[in-house]
Amino acid sequence: MAASQRLFTISPFAVDSSGDWLFWAEAPEEEFLQSIRELGQLEPVLVSEDEGPPALLAGYKRLLACRELGLDLLALAPGSPDPVARGRIYAESNRQRQLDAADLVRAGRYFARHLDAQGLDSVLSELSATEGGKRMPDLVRTWLRLDPQWDELLRAGHLPLQAAQALTRLNNEDAKALWPFFQNLRWSRNNALHFLGWLEEAASRERSSLAELLSSAGLDQILESDLSPKDRIRRLAQLARETRYPRLTELEAEFSAMVRDASRAGPWRIAPEAAFESDRIHLSTSIGPGQDLEHAARELERLHREGILERIRQWQRNRLGGAAEEESHDKDTE
């Protein structure tokens, strides 16, 4: 390849810049244009020597800048590489680029068309050496099983790469039903993964499709509500959790309602054991310098005197001992 390399100038309009190996192609920023305007093109672009017009291999921004500024293009032709080599040359010439998950997916889409699974894995490992660690190639390969339309949501930061595992398990109908929930909302990684996991598990338990569940649980109504995007995400995640854990969230709501007044009136926060695993309750308060310790002590005494702690005990006996489940089961089977 090196023997045939030659440096030359060419009109930027004579170079074909539509090759699909230019997977990270972006228009030049103003600073870049300014640099070319002032200093000229310092590095040649790479073009192929194919039959017909030369095709751009690397240097998309320089090509567009020269077109815009009416300059001839300085080019180097390293021969006519095969499709895999074209992708690798392009990636190598963008080595300084800080790759994110969407970049890896775009490169992955290209290489997946030309490489087997092992070859793809090897290229992805190279590309992601500094990004995301050892799991990244696996995550990207999983994402590549999705319809490419999801790529735009990844690029826009609406959902994380890790969501692919759940999304690839969906059938077309469910994926289509879920799309609007990510189309206009930017989900954090944790929220997105919990949301997907809870919905998938709830649908599986109910033996319904995810599309049916989104409607029957009222999630689509929240999506169409006037809430702010942040509040919509919060409410959607909350409702998905309630759908997945109906008994747990019911108990949490009952407990919160029971202690709300007591907590509001005084400095003490009353919380149950995590997931109600024991009858232990946690009382906490904080006292800053100069604050009234005696007041907190009096309030604690009041909680005891007014029977709030005893009411909690009574509730625990009624609700955590399984009797309520038996009653509810008996009603269901009547």
Partner: protein, 362 residues
């Protein structure tokens, strides 16, 4: 039932254990297997073939251990005689899948070291009773036709009248019985489950009727048996499933044949749940409301599992199995709601089970 050792194609043996009785028996029992000798300090010679390898190891750790229970829940105080790791059966819910780093079936073949430690620990404390078992990190009897390990252990413990050995299994191997001189000090034990759970989740294990028939044979030979409903799974139709299993127990055994019977709701490390969820086949029991327990493991939400355990316990009681019942790794709250008392009322669970294991004292 196909024998669970049928998949073994390779035997890896540490050089130091090549001439031990266990290695000799395995060589005779697996004439077709390819042998690989591992010298001291050498790397493990096989990789990526976990499923069909048996590793005869010179084990350097402690053989007699405490059950890895947690202080957050009530542990039965069982002592483990550690004879190997992993299991040739393929129960989907098995915690060993997540507990150990690999799936290689391992047997500690340096039995002389085991005997020395047991003599020191058990023989050295004749005033103390020991309830020990081998079924925590592996099935006690799945490899018995190949290794004869339990026969050796029974023979060794014959002279230690302060020790009661529990052999917990899902197989029907009874070849060890002829070695027993004191049946009151050996407790054959079976893991039981609802018939559909056995069929769906316990591939490679004996059927429920076969297990109970083996238990009956032991009872008829003068042994008391132990039964373990563990893990109790929650799935649509569990009520009928566990009712059937309880009724089947009474078809095969009398209450007095049973030394003790445990109920343990399914719990697992989060890694196992992730592994099971990523399997193609749907697992109904994982779709229930699992929460993170006080020990970091996933468990069914307390009111749901309390209801389930109480129903099974009531069915057992109605069939005459009462004081034998205990709960495995549960809180006092669940004990009280399921059984009406706590381990403290029994003088402590470990102490209570020792009394059940040694009804006439040591």
């Amino acid at each position: 039932m196909e024998h669970p050792t049928r998949h073994i194609r390779h035997v890896v043996a540490d050089e130091e254990v090549l001439d031990t009785p266990v290695a000799t028996r395995v060589r005779a029992g697996l004439p077709e297997a390819e042998w690989h000798v591992r010298g001291p300090g050498q790397p493990f010679p096989l990789s990526g073939q976990d499923q069909n390898v048996l590793y005869l190891k010179r084990y350097l750790g402690r053989f007699l251990r405490f059950c890895p229970g947690t202080s957050k829940y009530r542990c039965c105080g069982y002592r483990i005689v550690h004879i190997g790791e992993n299991c040739p059966l393929s129960c989907t819910y098995c915690i060993l899948r997540a507990y150990f780093q690999d799936n290689v079936l391992k047997v500690w073949a340096n039995q002389e070291d085991l005997w020395q430690e047991l003599d020191r620990e058990i023989g050295g404390r004749p005033d103390r009773l020991f309830r020990v078992g081998t079924g925590e990190f592996t099935d006690s009897l799945a490899l018995e036709p190949l290794t004869g390990y339990s026969r050796d252990l029974i023979a060794f413990l014959t002279n230690y009248d302060n020790c009661c050995l529990e052999l917990k299994t899902k197989t029907t191997d009874l070849s060890w019985m002829t070695e027993v001189r004191f049946p009151e000090r050996v407790l054959p034990a079976w893991s039981l489950n609802a018939p559909e759970v056995v069929a769906r989740e316990e591939k490679g294990a004996a059927g429920l009727q076969e297990r109970l028939a083996a238990a009956r044979e032991c009872a008829e030979s003068g042994f008391r048996v132990c039964l373990h409903f563990d893990p109790v799974l929650c799935y649509p139709g569990w009520e009928e499933g566990y009712d059937t299993a309880v009724d089947m127990i009474r078809d095969y055994l009398r209450p007095r044949d049973i030394a003790y019977l445990s109920l343990g709701s399914f719990r697992c490390m989060p890694e196992l749940a992730r592994q099971l969820t990523s399997c193609e086949q749907r697992r109904d029991f994982l779709q229930q409301e699992f929460v993170t327990g006080l020990d970091g493991k996933l468990r069914l939400l307390r009111p749901l599992r309390t209801r389930q355990l109480r129903r099974i316990a009531e069915r057992l009681r109605s069939r005459g199995i009462r004081e034998q019942i205990y709960l495995c790794m549960e809180s006092d709250e669940v004990w009280r709601d399921v059984l009406g008392y706590t381990p403290k009322d029994l003088g402590g669970l470990a102490h209570h089970l020792l009394r059940r294991a040694f009804p006439h004292g040591g």
